[in-house]
Structure formats: structure tokens, C-alpha cells
Amino acid sequence: MINEALVLSAIIFVIGTFGVLVRRNAIIMFLCIELQLNAVNVAFVAFANLYGIEGQIFVFFVMTVAAAEAAVGLAIIISIFRHYETVDVGSFNLLKW
């Protein structure tokens, strides 16, 4: 049972990673990051079945952090949109010196 769960987790994670790397739309990239986080959650739950309750507790932490991240990230995306009128990450390069 654990193997199938881990394979599922890996597939979802790779999809998320691939999305972050190739998509240009900030919202889509954001969704892909959520995919990665939830892939990890699947793995946590699967391991919790084997090793104890701590895995499930960690899932709640991840969800909390994901929620906070969504709030901050969406706010940033909105303000970028207001400024550039686009959410295409290729059209701005703010993250440099």
C-alpha cells in the first residue's frame, strides 16, 4: 500500500515542479507550488500509517504554512498586476540587485 501512495506523491510532485519551471503565468505557478506541497502531504500521511501519528500532525503544519503563503503570495501577485497589468513572470525582473 505504501508503494502506491509514494508513487502517487512523486507523480504529483513532479507535475508541480514541472509546472513551476515551464509556466509563465504567476497564478498557475502558484497552483503548481500548492501541488508540490500537497504531494508532500500525501507522503506524510502514507508514512504516518507506518511510523505513527507525527506524520499527520506535520500535514496540519504544512497546510497552515500553505495558507499563509497563499495569502502573502496572492497579495504580491495582485500588486504586481496593478503595476504591470500582467501576471506573466517573463515580463518583469524585479528580483535583482
Binding site: 517573463g90 535583482k96 540587485w97
Partner: protein, 719 residues
């Protein structure tokens, strides 16, 4: 001053003197008063600062208005400057009379506070009151007071008048610290302080680059000497663990006679003395120092500061007595300087330059005195020289003052100091003429003036020392004696030449200018007259015992002989013990026979003959004004150009040092050191620029690199 002195001597057995112990009367105030004068005058100078500084930059002329309506900044210094010195002199006199009848074998040390204390080494701010320091204090405050008075007349119309008196008072303060300090450390404070004031006053008219440079030269040459003073102090400290006079001199009993240590100490001290007292090879600054106002030349560069080196040797007499090499060096450099400077003075045309070289020469005599163990004779000449050389300088100041006024009236730009432009001034300024003749005869060594007794004593002691039972280098001292005699004859010649060119013959100032030549005002000629009295009678306080009953000593009419010698005995006793122990009795005949009286008569008759001869020879010469004078030729040219010593110093010392400094600056500092530092900066900058290319600012790139990094780490940790 001397009249007071002899009066005080006559009542040697007064009741106050018999009280036993010496009670110093406000000794601290003597030092403090000039300092207060400096602060007051300095405040006035600052109050008037911008106006006078601008005026000096614009060429020294400031419209001060009539003498009656001047601002307080230019009237108060006339009272403060000489005033503080006058009071200090009176206090010194009170102390001196108290000290007269007291047998003071040990110096009185008045300690005020601890200046510094580090571990076992402490230096107190303490004053040493003994016979030598009191003699120096009398000279500094007494002659200084007269020169301050003269300055009131001489400098009154100068824009920087308050600044002048501020510096002059500060100088006296440091000079008093120098002679009264109870340790070498405190003496060094005064030593450096007088050097600073000398620099400030030589460059008093700082808008003239030549004068500012002369000040710098004096300061830098003195630094070389100060290095010697410092090294000698370090040696004393490592030997005795203290710099206070009393324990150091007590500790000298452990020193080996003629040992390397004491020789090194004395030679280093003498290097310092040679710098301050303008001896070969460091004398070059003193003739240039004549750029300062003439009263400054009289006070600092003739009467007081330049004699500090002689004071140093006299104060350290026991050290110099312990080192025959040190003593011979002191006397040798002294006699060489005396002869050398006297020859240069023969061909100078600037009246102050003649006097400057004469001062260098006379300082040489003083060093001969202290070098041959005749410390009292050296100090005696220091005292009489303070009288007659201050008088000569002040007299030349009166002459220059008058000449300057004459040229000022006709807007002429002739040199007011060039003797070729003078001549016949005796008709215009008789008081200056007479007083300066007195000083000239005194310095020439004509009996019975002051210079005869002091200079003859030194020359005689050089011969006597060389003839001592086990004297070191007896032939050398005989040579010193002969050289000193020759230099004395040269002194008589160049001084008479100066007097004839200045005061006698036809006037060469110009017909229009001559109408404006005038005698100095009373405030200037009164100090001249007082100093003339000193130049006549100053020598009578130390008539040698051998001369006392002869015709030269007035057939025994004087109340005392060798008074100064006995007065200074507590200071020199230790040195004389050492000398007696190792050398035995000094001789009583000159190297080629003849006693003291015979040689005294010979030397004064010879000097008189030279004066008369010079009067006739120079008087017969046709002198033409400076503007029409031909350039000197032959040996006269060499003398006129001072043996090209300045040029040689420039070529062999100044330029190599400048070149080395330029090399250190341009090559080592600017190229190598700065280059290395800058290269490090450039490398960091280039690296940063290269690495910054990775920061595209695009989220995708960062995400890709991040993923790549995770994969690499995973790959490494798995395989």
C-alpha cells in the same frame, strides 16, 4: 643691573643674610607671570586677529591711526608685555638678595605637583632654585625686560603688535621653565617651548616666504639637536632610573671616568646643545633667524635662548668632567665655530648678519669655557655676552628703525639693513653710536670692559687646562688656545669694521633720505644705556684672582675677585673634584710661557691694536652704496657666501633627503602600496560584477536553478 648687583654684594653681611636658611619668595610667580602675560596679550591678539592677519598678508601695513587714538588691542600690550617681566625681575631680585649671604650647598627644589608617574619613574613639576638657575633667571628677566621695553618703541606701529608680545612673553615663560626646571624632562619642555617661540617669532612676518622659510629652517635644524637631547635623556634614565638633577648628579659617583656610557651621554647632550646654541655643524639656522624682528634677535638669538646649550653643559658639568672625550669635543667644536664664524663675519654687509655670525662665534667661546672645565668662565661669558650682544642688536635695531623711516619717507626700496647704505650715522644718532661703541669695545675684549674679563678668562683656562699635570691631549688644548686668540683678534676687526661702516665716514643713505634719519626715542635708547652700564661693569664681578692685584684689576681696589666663580662653586664643585682627581692641578703658564697677567695684557693690547688698525683700514676704504657695489671676488667672495655651507648642505643633505622622500612618496607609497590596495578593490569589484550576471531578476531562472540544486544534492547523496 650690575650696579644693583654690586650694591647687593657690598651689603653681603646684612642681617637677613645671616638668618641661615634660604627662604624662596614666590618662585612659582616668576614663571607664572610671563604665562599670564602671554594669555592676556594672546587674547588681545585674537580680539584683533582677523584685521591684523589680513594686514600682514597684505604686506604688514595697517592703518592704526595716530598713537593717541589706537584701539586697546594695540595699547594694552605696551603695559602688559614689559610689565609682567618687570615684576618677575623684581621678585627674582628679592630672591637673589635673600640668597646672597646664605651658604646654599644643596639646591632648593620646590615641587608643585607630580607631572607624570609611571611605575618607578616619576617627574615632578618642580623648580630648582640654586646659584646657576638664579643667575640665568636674572639674565632672562632682567635683559628680557629691557628688550621688552625696547620692543614697545620698535614694534608699536606693527599690525601684529599684540601677537608679538604674546609670543615674546610665551618665550620668556618657556625660557624660565628651561632654566628653573628641576629635571632634564622639565628642562626639555622649556627647550622645545623656546624652539617653538623662536620659530613663531622668526616667521613673525609670515607673508614674506623667505622669512617663513627661515623660521622653518630654525625649527628643523633644532629637531636634529633635540634628537640628541632625547637620546641622552634615555641613556640617563636607563642608567639612573630618574631624570631629576639631584639624584642624577648624586649617582654619577658610580660612573667610570672616561667610560663609554658617560661619553655617549655627553656627546648626545652636546648634539642637542649644538643645535640650540648654533655650533658647527648645526649653526646654519642662526644667521637666517635674523629674518625676525630685531628685538627678537636680541632676546632669543643672542642673549637667552641660544645660550641654553651652554647652560645645559654647565648644569651637567659633572657628566662632562667625567668624559675627557666629551669635554675635548665641546671645546673643539666651540673653538672651531668661534674661528669659522668670525671669518664669515668679516665680509658680511647686512648689519644683523655680522652680529649673527658674531653671536655664533661668541657662543663658541662659551663652549670652549665649559669644555675645558671652566664652567664658571663659560657662564660668566654667557652673562657679559647677554649685556653687550643684546646692546649691539638693540643698537642695530635702532639704526634699522631710523633707516627704515628714512627710506619710508622717500618710498625708496633700498635695503635698510645693508651697512653700505649707512655711514656717518653718528651725527644723526649719537646715543646709539656711543652705546654701540661701548659694546663693540666690550666684545673686542678691551680692558676694563665686561668682555675683556670673560673672554680672556676662557682663553686662559683653555691654556691652563691643556697644561694640567695629566691632561688628555695637551697639544690639542694648546691649539685651541691659539685658535681662540686668533678668533679674538678677528672679533675686534669685524666689530670695528661694522661700527666704521655704520657710523663713520660720509653718509651713503642718500641726500633726501638723510634728512629723515633720527635718534631713537627714549623708550628705545634707555635700554641701550642700561645695557651699556652692564657692558662696562659686568666683568668686574669675576676678576681673576691672578689679575686682582695687578694693574688690570685696579691694583686690588675691587671688593672681591672671582665672585661669580665662588658663587657657582656649589654647582661646579663635583666637576672640579673629578677634574682634580684625574687631571691634577691646572697649569699656571701658557703653552709658550708667560703667566695669566702677561697674556691678559698681551691680548688686550693686541685687540686694541686691531681695533685701531681696523678703524684706519676700513675708514680708508671707499665704500659705495649697495646698489652700486661690485660683486666680491677671490676669498672675499667665499667669505661673503659663507663658505657655501648652505649650498653644500643643500646638495649633500637636503636634496638627497628630498629625493629619497620623493621616491618613498611617488614609488613606494603611491605606486606599490596604493597599487596593492587598489588592486584588491578592483578584483573584488570585477568578481562582484561577474557573479551579479547570475541574478537575472526572473523568477523562472531562480526556480530552475533551485530545482537543479536540489537535484544535484539529491544525486550526490544517493549515489
Amino acid at each position: 643691573m650690575t650696579a644693583l648687583l654690586t650694591a647687593a654684594l657690598a651689603q653681603g653681611g646684612s642681617p637677613a643674610a645671616e638668618s641661615g636658611a634660604f627662604e624662596p619668595f614666590l618662585p612659582g610667580l616668576i614663571v607664572l607671570l610671563p604665562l599670564l602675560g602671554f594669555l592676556a596679550n594672546g587674547a588681545l591678539a585674537l580680539a584683533h586677529g582677523r584685521d591684523s592677519a589680513n594686514a600682514v598678508r597684505a604686506g604688514g601695513e595697517l592703518d592704526l591711526g595716530e598713537r593717541g587714538s589706537r584701539p586697546l588691542t594695540h595699547t594694552l600690550p605696551s603695559w602688559i608685555g614689559p610689565g609682567v617681566l618687570g615684576v618677575a625681575f623684581v621678585i627674582t631680585l628679592v630672591n637673589f638678595t635673600r640668597m646672597l649671604g646664605v651658604e646654599l650647598a644643596e639646591p632648593v627644589v620646590v615641587s608643585y605637583w607630580t607631572w607624570m608617574a609611571t611605575g618607578t619613574f616619576t617627574v615632578d613639576a618642580a623648580l630648582q632654585l640654586d646659584q646657576l638657575s638664579f643667575l640665568m633667571m636674572m639674565i632672562v628677566t632682567g635683559v628680557g625686560f629691557l628688550i621688552h621695553l625696547f620692543s614697545v618703541g620698535y614694534m608699536q606701529d606693527d599690525a601684529g603688535y599684540p601677537r608679538y608680545f604674546a609670543f615674546l612673553n610665551l618665550f620668556v615663560f618657556f625660557m624660565l621653565v628651561l632654566v628653573m626646571g628641576a629635571s632634564y624632562a622639565l628642562m626639555f619642555v622649556g627647550w622645545e617651548g623656546v624652539g617653538l617661540c623662536s620659530y613663531l617669532l622668526i616667521g613673525f612676518w609670515f607673508s614674506d616666504k623667505e622669512k617663513a622659510d627661515a623660521g622653518k629652517k630654525a625649527f628643523i635644524v633644532n629637531r636634529i639637536g633635540d634628537f640628541g637631547f632625547l637620546v641622552a635623556m634615555f641613556l640617563l634614565y636607563t642608567t639612573f632610573g630618574t631624570l631629576d638633577f639631584v639624584p642624577v648628579f648624586d649617582g654619577t659617583e658610580t660612573l667610570v671616568y672616561g667610560g663609554g656610557l658617560v661619553t655617549a651621554i655627553t656627546l648626545f647632550f652636546f648634539l642637542g646643545a649644538a643645535g640650540k646654541s648654533a655650533q658647527i655643524p648645526l649653526y646654519v639656522w642662526l644667521p637666517d633667524a635674523m629674518a625676525g624682528p630685531t628685538p627678537v634677535s636680541a632676546l632669543i638669538h643672542a642673549a637667552t635662548m641660544v645660550t641654553a646649550g651652554v647652560y645645559l653643559v654647565a648644569r651637567s658639568s659633572v657628566l662632562f668632567a667625567l668624559s675627557p672625550v666629551g669635554g675635548a669635543t665641546v671645546a673643539g667644536v666651540g673653538v672651531l665655530t668661534a674661528l669659522f664664524a668670525a671669518t664669515i663675519a668679516l665680509q658680511q654687509h647686512d648689519i644683523k648678519k655680522v652680529l649673527a655670525y658674531s653671536t655664533v662665534s661668541q657662543l663658541g667661546y662659551m663652549f670652549v669655557g665649559v669644555g675645558v672645565g671652566a664652567y664658571a668662565a663659560g657662564v660668566f661669558h654667557l652673562m657679559t655676552h647677554a649685556f653687550f650682544k643684546a646692546l649691539l642688536f638693540l643698537g642695530s635695531g635702532a639704526v634699522i628703525h631710523s633707516m627704515h623711516h628714512a627710506y619710508h619717507h622717500t618710498h625708496s626700496h633700498e635695503d635698510a639693513q645693508d651697512m653700505r647704505n649707512m655711514g656717518g650715522l653718528k651725527a644723526h644718532m649719537p646715543i646709539t653710536w656711543i652705546t654701540m661703541w661701548i659694546a663693540t669695545l666690550a666684545i673686542a675684549g678691551i680692558w676694563p670692559l665686561a668682555g675683556f674679563f670673560s673672554k680672556d678668562e676662557i682663553i686662559w683656562q683653555a691654556a691652563a687646562f691643556g697644561g694640567a699635570e695629566t691632561a688628555p691631549y695637551p697639544l690639542l688644548y694648546s691649539l685651541y688656545w691659539a685658535m681662540a686668540l686668533v678668533a679674538a683678534m678677528l672679533t675686534a676687526f669685524y666689530m670695528t669694521r661694522m661700527m666704521v661702516m655704520t657710523f663713520h665716514g660720509a653718509n651713503r643713505t642718500g641726500t633726501e633720505e638723510a634728512k629723515h634719519l633720527h635718534e631713537a626715542p627714549a623708550i628705545m635708547w634707555v635700554p641701550l644705556a642700561v645695557l651699556a652700564v652692564g657692558s662696562v661693569f659686568g666683568g668686574w664681578i669675576n676678576v681673576p684672582e691672578a689679575l686682582r692685584t695687578s694693574v688690570l684689576g685696579f691694583g686690588g681696589a675691587l671688593p672681591m675677585s672671582e665672585w661669580l666663580h665662588h658663587w657657582l662653586e656649589p654647582i661646579t664643585a663635583r666637576a672640579h673634584e673629578v677634574q682634580l682627581e684625574h687631571l691634577g692641578e691646572v697649569a699656571h703658564a701658557a703653552p709658550i710661557g708667560g703667566g695669566e697677567v702677561a697674556w691678559a695684557i698681551i691680548s688686550t693690547v693686541a685687540a686694541l691694536a686691531v681695533v685701531v688698525a681696523a678703524f684706519r683700514v676700513v675708514g680708508a676704504q671707499k665704500v659705495v652704496p649697495a646698489a652700486q657695489s661690485p660683486a666680491p671676488t677671490g676669498f672675499a667672495k667665499v667669505l661673503y657666501n659663507k663658505y657655501y655651507v648652505d649650498e653644500h648642505y643643500d646638495r649633500f643633505i637636503v636634496r638627497p633627503i628630498l629625493g629619497a622622500s620623493r621616491f618613498c612618496w611617488k614609488v613606494i607609497d603611491a605606486t606599490i602600496i596604493d597599487g596593492t590596495v587598489n588592486a584588491v578593490g578592483w578584483i573584488a569589484k570585477g568578481l562582484g560584477w561577474g557573479v551579479s550576471m547570475f541574478q537575472t531578476g526572473s523568477v523562472n531562472t531562480y526556480a530552475f536553478i533551485l530545482t537543479l540544486g536540489v537535484l544535484v544534492i539529491l544525486g550526490v547523496s544517493i549515489f
